[in-house]
Symmetry: C2
Subunit: 451 residues, 2 copies
């Protein structure tokens, strides 16, 4: 006999039990289906790339967290996001792609971070991006919120808010307040507002040479909560004082107007001037999405507009807009909070259970049910009746079809509704009708229930 | 400006152009849908595992080909198949899983092989396995061919043959011929039949002590092509001369009988005593699948029965049966032979093309068409009409909806069938009906056309 190696999975690598994997797949499927409904291409880039490609832009923090190694003469790195591979891809194929190039990618990325609860080293990102050639219309920025709304609607999340800002607006406000040259510092400090409080923020802003009362005024302005029309009006009061501000406000207004036409309800979108999303990448619109009743989860869907996707790989200007969902972490949070409807756990709609030694009838019935679009499994082992029913229970199948001698003689089956316990003696066609009716009911149900 | 790094992808890593990716995804989707229709759980294990886990069984050849590296104190390896991670998973969770445990996994695996045409270092495998607890009924072996048939049918491959053998039958025949103690060598030599020819094989068999005329007889016997009933009759003539042979022949007969009940047509299954599939893993049934008109492609779908899935991780006996499709290589071959129907290339069913500056109507229409289940993209850039139509062509969309001033004034749109060039002025509902009709037509078409 072989030596036994204790079976174990690496810490920080999500590996789900079968029932949870079913739920994960369903959520992933909803994302995929929605991205496709907007006419996005899918893309599937390699997990491994040349290190100089992936690290063309990366700074010290990224380099520490990556999985990098050599094989022969080749310096390899596992991708740590889906944006850098996209940039490489678009630069590589810039003369073959039709622009705007719209792609989604749902794939695993790798970060060697310190493992802790809810933090993963291997996790799924689900990204969409629209890449233009030289320029890209602002209305693309308005389509992203409608995709977010579709996804949340299909998942069953009703109370959510897409917080929207524009980096040009922010830059313009900083200009008006005379600190545009220190924009990065100002933003970094303001980002700490929740953590260190207003007074400490003002103190730090003073530290980089900002007048304290001015700093207070700036904080008040950024923190305004006036509704979208009110915010636009307030921003309008600054018209003419900064060209970049005027441009940004124009973009914000256009985005809000078109998002509505794309079907986004007003209450799901809110201008929030405190949203910045990482300082050196985004150049216009930025988004964050919050589940209203659980803001502590943080943003579950974020993104924005950038001027130059692939500047490290080509001199061609390729602006874009996109968003990303951290699917693995989102699933972890939803599951830990018990927000997921377990009725989607079963791998089959029907388990056929032969009660005699001969499974002929069961085999033939399985072909029929499958042809009707019913996911069908046959229990093929010789076990006691009770063990067979326990198996059906553990699988969580909604229906079991029991085939004993009586049923076979009559050319029928006993269909058991596993939830209600109700059992009827019927024929295959009627059984299929009942199962399909229940499947229809289930498919109308939302997978998430968030209080 | 940043320094430019030449964008490139690692050799041996498939990275498809968008249109080809659509085709790949569709084929992958058919596999997934079929596996699910049989009630298999999906599984998604990590790409990285502890090296001692993945290499518990591996020999020298495997170790040379793997991607293995260290991060901190951890010795990591990228998975090189989906079977070893399955074994780990089942052993780890043996007390929580319901047996038989039926799972499919479609995922990327990694082998640092020498890169050459059609050989990949990162490639998809699409596996299904049924794992029993202690024992697993032989009828499970009969279900696998029905899954293969379903997949090939849905893909559009009509001429294919599942070659079936049983390792017990082979072992029994070797016993009858007095060479069971040298089974591994005999098999290895016979495997070369196609390559080195009959005479050389007989010579080599003589080299390991087999009488030359006996060796010729053995080759004749293994090479018999009598049809399944004929083969079973011929094997039946040996009844009583080897217990293991009798057992294997019984299993073969049961498999053939039940496979028919599971819907497998007789002409898709053929007993072939020369099939062995790697000597030290399989213990009973083995399968290979050949596309009849292109045997040079080799087996596109292989598998079999094994006694002990997880012997390196647990003392519990976990027999199983399964099969695997090398999806990346299969796609490469299908694409290189031009077997794939390009009408499945488009990421959208409809492209809405606004002809005026205002895209209000287009935005609203996109919401409507999407609600009807039509994948809809709006062309949001300001470009000349010709450029917009070129974009539609390059995307390969079946329909374009043109929205000029006239159309907007009348509350209509011009729907253009991009294939026929036919254009009608109509309303949204009628347009949706036409598009859905065409989509229905397309969904009935098979993605593969193999002469």
């Amino acid at each position: 006999m072989a030596d036994i190696v204790a079976p174990r999975t690496l810490p920080g690598f999500m590996e789900l039990m079968p029932r949870e994997q079913q739920l994960f797949d369903r959520i992933k499927g909803i994302l995929e289906e929605t991205y496709r409904s907007y006419g996005f291409y899918s893309l599937d880039t390699p997990v491994l790339e040349h290190s100089d490609i992936l690290l063309a832009k990366a700074g010290g923090e990224t380099e520490k967290q990556i999985y990098r190694f050599s094989k022969g003469d080749t310096d390899l790195t596992m991708r740590f996001d889906l944006t850098v591979p996209l940039a490489k891809y678009v630069a590589m194929h810039q003369n073959e792609l039709a622009f705007p190039f719209r792609r989604y990618q749902i794939g695993k990325v790798y970060r060697g971070e310190r493992a802790q609860k809810g933090r993963y080293r291997e996790f799924y990102q689900a990204d969409i991006d629209v890449i233009g050639d030289g320029k890209l219309g602002i209305i693309n920025d308005a389509e992203i919120p409608s995709i977010i709304c579709d996804i949340f609607g299909k998942l069953g999340i009703e109370g959510f808010t897409i917080r929207i800002n524009n980096r040009k607006v922010l830059g313009g406000i900083f200009e008006v307040y005379g600190v545009r040259d220190r924009a990065t510092d100002v933003m970094r400090i303001i980002d700490k507002l929740d953590k260190i409080g207003r007074d400490s923020v003002i103190e730090e802003l003073s530290g980089i040479g900002m007048d304290a009362s001015m700093a207070g005024e700036l904080l008040d302005f950024l923190g305004l909560r006036l509704g979208n029309d009110g915010m636009l009006a307030k921003l309008g009061e600054l018209t003419g004082r900064s060209a970049i501000l005027d441009e940004g406000v124009g973009e914000l207004a256009t985005l809000l107007r078109y998002a509505k036409l794309f079907g986004v309800e007003e209450n799901h979108m809110r201008i929030d001037l405190t949203i910045a999303r990482g300082l050196d990448y985004y150049t216009g619109t930025v988004y964050e999405t919050i589940i209203d009743s659980h803001p502590e989860i943080g943003s579950v869907c974020s993104g924005g507009r950038y001027d130059n996707l692939a500047e490290y790989y080509t001199t061609r200007k390729l602006p874009g807009v996109g968003m990303s969902i951290g699917l693995t972490r989102l699933f972890y949070v939803l599951d830990a909070n018990d927000f997921i409807d377990r009725s989607f756990c079963s791998p089959a709609d029907l388990l056929i259970i032969p009660m005699t030694d001969d499974v002929e009838g069961a085999a033939e019935l399985s072909v029929y049910f499958r042809s009707r679009g019913i996911r069908t499994q046959v229990y093929l082992e010789e076990r006691k009746f009770k063990q067979k029913m326990t198996y059906a229970d553990r699988l969580g199948v909604p229906f079991a079809a029991i085939l004993g001698e009586d049923e076979i003689r009559q050319g029928k089956l006993s269909l058991k509704d596993m939830e209600s316990g109700e059992q009827v003696l019927t024929d295959a066609e009627d059984a299929a009708g009942r199962i399909l009716a229940k499947m229809g009911e289930l498919s109308g149900r939302k997978i998430l229930h968030i209080d």
